[in-house]
């Protein structure tokens, strides 16, 4: 079940990253102490879902304080909808070497 979900999720993320044209859902996974994809560009209105696949909890904490998840245990998810264009950097507050960026394009 986990493996069945994982591959399509990455594929979806890659497609969105490449097109970045339409507001559609995006999944970012946390695996082996990294976010994947680490850098992604999305359209305004996109809802991003993060899912932790590690046995160790992770969080999603934006540098500017805009969004912050609780600690996500294995297979827990967190969502945030990006309405405003900009560059959003975030880290795992438990493992701050985990860093990633979401860029929201202008209309």
């Amino acid at each position: 079940m986990k493996h069945g979900l994982f591959a399509p999720v990455l594929l979806l993320a890659a497609m969105l990253s490449a097109s970045g044209a339409h507001a559609a859902d995006l999944m970012v996974v946390m695996k082996n102490f990294d976010y994947s994809p680490m850098e992604v560009t999305i359209a305004p209105g996109t809802t991003v879902t993060w899912k932790n696949l590690d046995g160790e909890p992770h969080t999603i904490a934006s540098r500017d304080g805009l969004f912050r998840s609780p600690a996500l245990d294995q297979n827990d998810t967190f969502q945030f909808k990006f309405d405003t264009p900009g560059v959003y950097k975030y880290v795992c507050s438990i493992h701050p070497k985990m860093m990633a960026t979401i860029t929201v394009t202008g209309k």
């Binding site: 082996n32 102490f33 590690d54 046995g55 160790e56 909890p57 969080t59 904490a61 912050r68 609780p70 600690a71 245990d73 294995q74 507050s93 438990i94 493992h95 701050p96 070497k97």
Partner: protein
């Protein structure tokens, strides 16, 4: 189990036969096999419990409540009870109120009533650590860091999980560093020091963030003291180093082991065969005799 007839037998019953006793006296470091340890070591000055991770329920240990209970039973069965217990953080796994409640109920079973707790990063995942400080914030006036004296020893509790460095190392931050300098200023170099925090206060493995940004600065402040013991958790295994009169020591977890530095993709829970798990979980006891402080690690096996 037959009734222990003397302290050495008692220690063997507790499963520390294969342990090593470390002593630090006048800056000279020496290690003995525990079987050679003296029987009249006296009352433990304190015990260190770490990384209880209440709320964890994955394969590496589906029953962290059970292993903490076994740990508490082990401590309560010691013939001479320590003066106090230090918990070096990650009380909870996900900073949830229910996890802290369970942990507090379990820890209340300790016969030792004096418990000092510093937060781990798992205890403050909300940022300010609301649930942690609601329960354990009182001695520090909700700062987390504080000091106290017990049996002639100066204890310093530090928080290095709320000001991470950009490279992933733990950090104290300027305010706490200033407080630490002030706390140590004017103290006699002959007073034994015990410094405890969650993340290692010296760099064990930077790629995994196993260290503290101000580690060198902290060591420099402690160097003039004749007997310094620095205790940490976080890495769920024993790593030890001696630098001059400073003994650095990390404790085992009571919940689950972690891989050795750099082994595998990251510092996550390590799954081991069930029969090996108790031997990788445990506590640290510190004995004090005059100016000597010695540490003994005990597993649950």
């Amino acid at each position: 189990m037959t009734e222990p007839t003397n302290r050495r037998d008692t220690l063997k019953c507790l499963g520390v036969g294969a342990g090593t006793l470390f002593t630090l006296q006048g800056g000279v470091f020496s290690a003995f096999d525990l079987a050679e340890a003296r029987q009249d070591m006296g009352t433990p000055l304190f015990l260190q419990i770490s990384d209880t991770h209440i709320g964890f329920n994955k394969d590496a240990n589906p029953d962290v409540v059970g292993t903490l209970n076994r740990t508490i039973d082990l401590v309560n069965a010691m013939p001479a009870q320590p003066g106090l217990v230090l918990h070096t953080g990650d009380v909870s796994h996900l900073s949830k109120a229910s996890e802290f409640d369970t942990a507090s109920q379990l820890l209340a079973r300790l016969k030792v009533s004096e418990l000092h707790v510093v937060p781990g990063e798992h205890d403050v995942t909300d940022g300010p650590g609301v649930e942690f400080f609601a329960r354990f914030g009182k001695p520090s006036n909700n700062r987390g860091y504080y000091s106290f004296d017990s049996h002639g020893v100066h204890f310093i509790a530090l928080v290095n999980v709320m000001n991470f460095k950009p490279n992933g190392l733990g950090g104290l931050g300027d305010e706490q560093m200033a407080w630490l300098k002030d706390d140590l200023a004017g103290r006699s170099a002959s007073q034994p020091m015990v410094v405890f925090a969650h993340m290692p206060l010296w760099t064990i493995y930077q790629p995994w963030g196993w260290g503290t940004g101000e580690g060198d600065e902290i060591a420099a402040l402690l160097r003039r003291f004749g007997s310094v013991t620095v205790l940490n958790g976080h890495i769920h295994q024993i790593v030890q180093k001696v630098e001059g009169n400073i003994l650095f020591h990390t404790a085992r977890s009571t919940a689950y082991p972690q891989p050795q530095a750099g082994s595998g993709p990251g510092p996550g829970p390590l799954v081991v065969p069930a029969d090996q798990l108790p031997g990788m979980l445990g506590i640290t006891a510190a004995m004090a005799e005059k100016r000597m402080l010695s540490l003994t690690d005990t597993t649950l096996s």
